[in-house]
Symmetry: C2
Subunit: 146 residues, 2 copies
């Protein structure tokens, strides 16, 4: 019990950050024995869903800068979870290996359980409202409200 007044508690941005941190911590815990960082796991999942995509495309989908994708992809390849083939001289096509697909499947199983646990905490109807509202807030970055 902190006991201090925290006026930040009334702020949407602050509550988003705190709630996000709680779910991120649980996400990391659930996937802890994979010994992969959250960014590596999510990258694996996107590649599994999009065979022959490029590094830049994955980065764009996950809001990870090109420069930051490099070590993530390198790790996935070193672990034998992702393979890449040249498309032209500058583009690379990414695919998960069979081992990568197995890892992705297991990750999804755990993620769904993790999600279900948190979703169960919300009042009926609240989940739909929240899942609709979040992309709206997120979309503000590409529109006027930034």
């Amino acid at each position: 019990m902190a006991g201090l007044t925290n006026a930040l508690d009334h702020l949407l941005g602050y509550q988003l950050r705190r709630a996000s941190a709680v779910l991120m911590a649980d996400f990391a815990r659930v996937l802890g024995d994979f010994e992969m960082r959250p960014a590596e796991i999510t990258t694996l999942l996107v590649i599994a869903d999009n065979p022959d995509c490029s590094q830049s495309e994955v980065g764009e989908a996950l809001a990870i800068k090109r420069a930051n994708m490099v070590p993530i992809i390198a790790q996935l390849i070193e672990r034998g979870l992702v393979a890449r083939t040249r498309v032209d001289g500058r583009s690379l096509a990414l695919r998960v290996t069979p081992a990568g697909e197995a890892q992705a499947d297991e990750a999804w199983r755990r993620i769904h359980a993790h999600e279900a646990r948190f979703k169960a905490l919300l009042a009926p109807g609240a989940l739909e409202t929240v899942l609709h509202a979040l992309p709206v807030l997120r979309g503000a970055a590409e529109n006027g409200a930034e």
Copy 2:
């Protein structure tokens, strides 16, 4: 336009993280010329609201570990925004200086404008639902769902 399939988009945890990042980026932009880090600004606001609080209490309110509070408080003191006095041999009472109070007031003005811009994006009633749901998710960390 990424164009890639991103199954993560259906996940509560992932959407929270992305929306939080958007609001955090805007928060940083709005307070950019303060040349203080977000954690320093929020710490200042909590101290302004809770005269004579301790470092540990502020950390507990903001979910910042004791060890990580040290450089934050040091910066605020170096800038002349916060002062501290000894309570007993191991506890320090924190207070904002007049300069710190002015800074906190200006920060609040900008934060309220920033908040209003994002809240305006939500459908009627959605804001209340979201602001109720987020602390519930956050509270899961202290209860069973962790």
